[in-house]
């Protein structure tokens, strides 16, 4: 507690508490929160909400449910941060919680075959979809082709087996190292590499016909 107390924020040095928190690394923000600075938790939420949302969404394919699960992640973080081993990375811990929740969601969904990944994705309204491939200078047929390609990509990710998809998303979309993925997924390094290699090849095989 002494070390925590030492790292508490002193708000009289020009910058606001939020600015100071923004300048800190994760470990320091966690320490500040444990030292009683409630605003540190908001900083953690701000840092990780989009990252975790993307990860969970790409894993389960349902945006609304993904938001619920990410909120659950933050509630668990809030409740159990005092038990977090601060010798490890906060991001790995947060992703591990998210990964477990996503896995549970998929497991529950598999017990109810009426709700499938593709079904959820197809029910998603066009207006809700990100328009990353859109370009106002493009012709309508180009726009259609690009949107179609994006759908193909998302569906191809969804077609990967769950444990391959998890590793694939963590690596290719979240940019995690092999070691971090091993820790998040609770697998050894060899398994992570093997799964990632297979996932890459499977994904390439699925999207290849659309890239010609």
């Amino acid at each position: 507690m002494a070390s925590i107390a030492r790292k508490q924020i002193v708000p009289n040095q020009g910058a606001t508490v939020r600015e100071q928190l923004r300048a800190m690394d994760d470990s320091a923000v966690v320490t500040a929160f444990l030292g009683g600075e409630e605003r540190a938790f908001s900083e953690l939420v701000e840092r990780y909400q989009a990252r975790l949302l993307n990860f969970v969404y790409r894993t389960i394919g349902d945006r609304e449910k993904a938001e619920d699960l990410v909120q659950e992640v933050f509630i668990r973080v809030y409740r159990h941060l005092h038990r977090f081993d601060r010798s490890k990375k906060f991001s790995t811990w947060a992703y591990t919680i998210a990964s477990n929740l996503a896995k549970n969601e998929l497991r529950n969904r598999s017990r109810n075959p009426l709700v499938l990944f593709q079904t959820v994705q197809k029910n998603w309204q066009d207006d809700d979809r990100p328009l990353q491939f859109e370009d106002t200078t493009s012709r309508p047929d180009d726009m259609y082709r690009k949107r179609h390609l994006r759908e193909i990509v998302e569906e191809s990710v969804a077609k990967l087996p769950e444990h391959h998809r998890n590793v694939f998303v963590l690596r290719e979309l979240e940019g995690k190292s092999y070691e971090e993925i091993a820790e998040i997924t609770d697998c050894n390094l060899g398994t992570v590499k093997s799964r990632l290699n297979r996932a890459r090849n499977s994904f390439a095989e699925i999207v290849a016909p659309y890239m010609e």
Partner: protein
């Protein structure tokens, strides 16, 4: 990756040097992950590049994987919906309220002390109860009615000590058995009268 490559070099990995960095399709496939992530050591990197120039199948596969990865990495990231923060704040308030409600009214140390004191009292009470049960108060024995006077057993005849003494004295067993036959045997009858009989 599954298709057979067109180039095969029987040389194993162990023989690879900067002057001779060739590899076969299987090895290429096994190392492709590290090759794409650019984590291969120099010698193997050269071997992979050389293999790509020689094997059309592997070169095609390499290009497909790289292009597909560009595609997936260019997917736009989604952002939380506008009400995300408010909903999270509400859930956190609920969680805090729940935690506060489930907290014990007394502090853990005080609670532990109270439990210990209660345990001591309980154990004392149990021990006292057991002691009271075990302690005999007034033992009421049934009255004894003597029906016959105690009879005096006849003293042993002279051969008996001789038989007893024979074994420690090292005498042969058969002599002891011989003496034993002469020892008077006393039987007690059912009506508690002493009977003497010699065999």
């Amino acid at each position: 990756m599954e298709g057979a490559g067109t180039s095969f070099h029987p040389m194993g990995t162990g023989n690879r040097t900067l002057n001779n960095p060739q590899m076969d399709c299987r090895e290429f496939r096994n190392k492709h992950l590290s090759y794409v992530d650019d984590t291969l050591p120099g010698v193997e990197l050269v071997g992979m590049q050389l293999h790509l120039t020689e094997c059309v199948s592997c070169a095609r596969q390499d290009a497909t994987v790289r292009r597909s990865l560009m595609l997936i990495r260019s997917l736009q990231r989604i952002e939380p919906s506008p009400g995300f923060s408010e909903r999270l704040a509400k859930k956190l308030r609920e969680a805090k309220a729940l935690d506060a409600a489930s907290k014990p009214l007394v502090r853990p140390r005080k609670f532990a002390a109270a439990v210990a004191a209660t345990s001591v009292v309980m154990l004392g009470y149990i021990a006292l109860s057991l002691r009271q049960v075990d302690t005999p108060r007034d033992i009421m024995l049934p009255p004894v009615v003597a029906t016959l006077p105690e009879s005096v057993t006849a003293p042993m005849m002279s051969p008996a000590p001789a038989m007893v003494a024979s074994v420690p004295a090292g005498l042969p067993i058969w002599t002891a058995a011989l003496f034993a036959e002469q020892v008077p045997i006393h039987f007690v009858s059912a009506d508690l009268t002493l009977v003497n009989s010699n065999r």
